[in-house]
Amino acid sequence: MSAALLELDGVSKRFRRKISLGDRIAAKLGAKVETREVRAVENVSLSVIRGETLGLVGESGCGKSTLGRIAAGILPPTSGKASLDGRPVMSESGRHEKLTTRVQTVFQDPFASLNPRRRIGDAIAEGPLAHGLVDHAGAVAYVAEQLYRVGLDPSYASRFPHQFSGGQRQRIAIARALAMKPDLLICDEPVASLDVSIQAQVLNLFLDLRRALNLTAIFISHDLGVVRHLSDRVAIMYLGRIVEIGPSAEIYASPKHPYTQALLTSVPRLNRHREGRRAFRPIAGELPSPLSPPSGCHFHPRCTLATDRCRTEPPQLRSMGSDRHAACHLAE
């Protein structure tokens, strides 16, 4: 196995509600001021190996996008470290500036992630020009090459984002990310806001590019089907923690964690001949607030198998055989 490209080591991210000046004065005077924290990501360690695609799956609000943003160098972790080839992605003190151009991101909403007042050619060329990947003389040809690669006509370079459809815009966003020649591409739900027919096109483009450029990628999605299609390995997140991680074929075939099992049975399928008709059973209860996560295993209030141990002791990720890990006291 080749060495890890991206290493997340005990990464946590807490968001604190901004304390107003009045509250701060009150606190100084001795009043009790509630400081509420959202624990978006809690003590996550994982590594991404060169050349693989890691799928990151979970309900909305489980912290998968936050984890992606930490890996991408957009958010600094509250504790822990994100490093690429052993070097930190962001400076750890001061203004938390991103140190590397080798991680690039494709965002969820292509209508928001492109500056509406910049021609797309300028948008694509901006990063490479700023970091000396291309000089001004070569910029036009470079942009044309990037556009061609994502299946767009190079003559579109002088147009504005509002002249494109959602799928075309996402192609532009991919071209912009790839123009930086990244080693690691982080895709934060890149197809979630697209029509299903367009989704397939963009996913196929992604598959082609991954093969052609030998990309390493983290693919964040709430859609298990999409992730299965793309990923070598899958990590399932629940309320800020990774509950299960392993090769995607194995996880889809025999999920170990009760949450993963529940997620997979709730995926609608066309072909149910063998199982016959089956009522849709959603996971009981709602996602707890990350402001006050449950004690012990975060999933216990919704888990049908929960024991007293689950209510008190948070389970660690344990090895479940060949490269598989699950965080459940009961799984084996």
């Binding site: 991408a72 160098g73 957009i74 500036e97 991103k98 151009t101 991680v103 690039q104 991101t105 965002f107 969820q108 909403d109 928001a112 992630s113 492109l114 500056n115 509406p116 007042r117 910049r118 901006e126 990063g127 700023a130 970091h131 966003a173 912009r176 930086m180």
Partner: protein
């Protein structure tokens, strides 16, 4: 409305639907054009003291003076042809108004955007200072500053900028805070691009619509403020009268029946400011998404 037209052409078509705004725009262009080309339309250079004849002072409109030409709008107390003095005065007023507006736009817009981008203490410091300044009347501030700096075109412009940049800063800050949280800023930061590039090439261009509206109103305000300061004797030297000073000079003759010395510069000032404001109102209405059809 055709969709293929460029945003600018669509904007112009919508603008042209408002007749009043169209007329106002015409008036602005006419007045600015007349002021810029003043030497072509005026019989006299009002700043050339050697050409002023005191015998022609305070003559009513229509008087044929010693120069052999008709004083269309009469003459002032120094024997200046008022028509000429008004066009030259407009020149100064517009020049100062535009310069002050442009500088205040750049300074205030940058400050507001930087504050919104930086956040935290820097933002609090800049914005509270600006709030503090906005709690004083602009005219008071302008008066104090021009009293310190003294008379002159540049001193006056500086005083106007100092009292007006705050409006731009607050508008830019409000718009920039909204832009700051959008994904394309996140995308730019994750490239990574420097803060300077993100602020000035990504955030500020997207804050332009509200800033342009403020700019039109503030140019009109700068002209009015300049006239006020000149009227109060704080503005320009007497030898280069702006509109405010012309009004001020004629003020003492109002009750003696020589109305024209004050009234005509006053009308010119009102027409210009009203027209700019009408244009600004229409632009504001068009850029307000709640009023969009």
């Amino acid at each position: 409305m055709r969709r293929d037209a460029s945003p600018f052409i669509r904007f112009w078509r919508e603008f042209a639907e408002n007749r009043l705004a169209l007329v106002a725009l015409g008036v602005v262009i006419l007045v600015v054009g007349a002021a810029v080309l003043a030497p072509l339309f005026t019989p006299q250079d009002p700043y050339d003291i050697g050409k002023l004849v005191l015998g022609d002072a305070r003559r009513p409109p229509g008087h044929v003076g010693s120069g052999g030409y008709v004083h269309l709008l009469g003459t002032d107390a120094q024997g200046r042809d008022l028509w000429s003095a008004i066009l030259y005065g407009l020149r100064i007023s517009i020049q100062i108004g535009l310069t002050a507006g442009a500088v205040a736009f750049i300074v205030g817009g940058s400050l507001g955007a930087v504050a919104a981008f930086a956040g935290g203490r820097i933002e609090a410091l800049i914005m509270r200072f600006i709030d503090l300044q906005l709690s004083f009347p602009a005219i008071l501030l302008a008066l104090v500053i021009s009293a310190i700096l003294g008379q002159g075109k540049w001193q006056l412009t500086a005083a106007l900028v100092a009292s007006q940049y705050a409006y731009f800063a607050r508008t830019a800050h409000g718009a920039a805070v909204a832009e700051r949280s959008k994904e394309y800023i996140e995308a730019a930061l994750s490239t990574p691009l420097s803060s300077r590039v993100v602020i000035f090439r990504h955030i500020l261009p997207n804050c332009m619509p509200p800033l342009i509206v403020v700019a039109t109103v503030q140019v009109a305000n700068a002209i009015a403020l300049e006239a006020t300061l000149s009227f109060l004797g704080m503005g320009l030297p007497v030898t280069h009268p702006s509109l405010g000073m012309l009004i001020s000079n004629g003020f003492q003759y109002m009750l003696s029946g020589r109305y024209w010395i004050s009234i005509y510069p006053g009308i010119a000032l009102i027409v210009l400011i009203l027209a700019i404001n009408l244009v600004g109102d229409q632009i504001r209405d068009q850029l307000n998404p709640r009023l969009q059809r």
